[in-house]
Symmetry: C2
Subunit: 329 residues, 2 copies
């Protein structure tokens, strides 16, 4: 939540001469994302986001990320389009950082999703999966299932400092996800479609943002990640089956799950919850408590982990068997 | 440069019901100021800044600050106006913090001021001093001259850790400013009119912002602070007499200095440079080097301190005797 690389008015004016978008009338650093420096830019011709990519992003994959979001914008998905300069180039360098000017889209990030919003994101996820069918370039998922034992090891036996139950939860999840449904259909997936990466306006999805964890992996793993992100209370303690049912219905409208994908949902959910438990635990153990970055609680995902370990496919879909599922009533 | 207090879409929607400004269409935390949480808000009726006041601001003085900026906006100064709710109230509470919705003004912060911009800010400072003649409410300057010995003591003898020359520079400046021209005219002053607190567009000042250090003190101390902020290179190593001459000419157009004020300029400049040397030194010594906040170099103002110690009033005005003053050529 910070600007890491400053950009002065002079830097900006020189940068904008590469483009046909006029001159700056307003320019403010925005506190969005913990990975990049982002600025909201208004020029005499419109509004844009200027992103300078910092070290946490996979810099080598930037051409792939920008090709993906350009592809999605071309397919009329609500994905902010990278802006090209007069030479047709989107990826630039500014103040020693890779940089890109990106279309501004309106909308407000969701915080506590409603059932209607969960339906809308299900539809949007399905449209995303439909739109990448002809996006054939691949990027490996360097936070995927093969890496989880190594990611757990990087916490160096210290996860018990976060919560006494965490080491056992992680060990059990590593053992369970070692049996991984690796033969399910693969696709380009977002893998980080949390509510704060979605902009909405009057119930419509106006922006799907932050594709910097996108990769090629099991398509239904994207569904599981979105489910984990949207269908629980923030602390992971309450499962909202009504949101899960709405997510499933929305996704079925625009894409749909295959029978093997549906059968694998609890295992995929365990994987999604484990991935976020591990990255949050690492950040928690390696961020000073007094740093200005808000540390995200790893236990919020450890609780989801425990839920998925006892879930059936129907429960993940918000149907029979879920604690407050409509079908139970 | 961060958002300290999060505001969710739900928090925001409830907050906006107090106002007649429509509903949110975009809402982004902005990385402006190290003291408050600021958000850029767009609604169906316009654009606004939402500020949540954090602990570093003098919370008790918020009604005074907002009365001052409302007064200045009423006088057609380019000062963003606090927005009142349907009951006529500007100062609200949101998520446990004092909060205010403020008019959005266009413009881009200055970084390396030009001569023309220095002239423009001189004019704006004079207009500010003219506009507060009938603003009679007072606020003590708790970072003013009587407090400097105490502020130096708070660095607890550690200023030598920053630079070996710093303890002697501070001691000399404390001794010099003990002889303080306290009988000069008093007024409501900004005291922090640095380039990053000024928005400009095509040479015009479109915004004077961040009045949260404003107070009642020597009027010419505001001139001296503005001089210290605008007329040196960022590191304080180079004095730009051409900018100083433009600042003086601009201020003379809209307000002007009295003869005793002019005579006191070198001493006032020492005071201004000392005040920023001391606050920066304290922050430097008390901010972890790996914190996400950029620490501002105290030596940039210690160098200005040394310059003012050897300056004449004419040099401060950009005239004869200044290293690269036009009059020398």
């Amino acid at each position: 939540m910070a600007v890491f690389t400053p950009v002065t008015a002079t830097d900006l004016a020189a940068f904008l001469t590469r483009y046909d978008i006029g001159t700056a009338t307003s320019f403010k650093g925005i506190a969005e994302g913990v990975q990049n420096s982002n600025f909201l830019l208004e020029t005499t011709s419109g509004r844009f986001i200027l992103t300078l990519y910092e070290e946490r992003v996979d810099i080598g994959a930037l051409p792939w990320f920008l090709a993906l979001t350009t592809h999605l914008a071309d397919k009329h998905l609500p994905v902010p389009r990278p802006i090209v300069d007069r030479a047709g180039i989107a990826l630039q360098t500014l103040n020693g950082r890779p940089a890109c000017l990106i279309e501004f889209v309106p909308g407000v990030s969701v915080t506590e999703p409603t059932v209607a919003q969960s339906h809308a994101i299900g539809v949007a996820l399905g449209r995303l999966h439909a739109a990448v069918r002809d996006f054939t370039a691949e990027r490996a998922n360097n936070l995927g299932q093969p890496y989880w034992p190594e990611m757990a090891a990087r916490c160096a036996g210290r996860s018990g400092e976060i919560d006494a139950s965490l080491p056992d939860l992680i060990d059990a999840a590593l053992a369970a996800t070692a049996d991984w449904p690796g033969d399910l259909p693969r696709a380009t997936i977002h893998t980080d479609l949390f509510p704060d990466n979605v902009l909405m306006l009057e119930g419509e999805v106006t922006g799907l943002i932050d594709f910097y964890f996108a990769c090629t992996d099991l398509r239904a793993f994207d569904y599981a990640t979105t489910h984990a992100a949207w269908c629980f209370s923030g602390d992971g303690g309450v499962y909202h089956a009504d949101r899960a049912a709405a997510l499933a219905a929305g996704y079925a409208e625009s894409h749909g799950l295959t029978a093997p994908e549906t059968a694998a949902l609890p295992r995929l959910g365990q994987g999604a919850a484990l991935r976020f438990t591990l990255t949050r635990a690492y950040d928690w153990l390696n961020t000073p408590p007094d740093a200005l970055v808000t540390r995200k609680d790893p236990m919020a995902f450890a609780r989801r982990l425990a839920w998925y370990a006892g879930a059936t496919p129907q429960m993940v879909l918000g149907g029979a068997g879920a604690p407050d599922a409509p079908l139970q009533q």
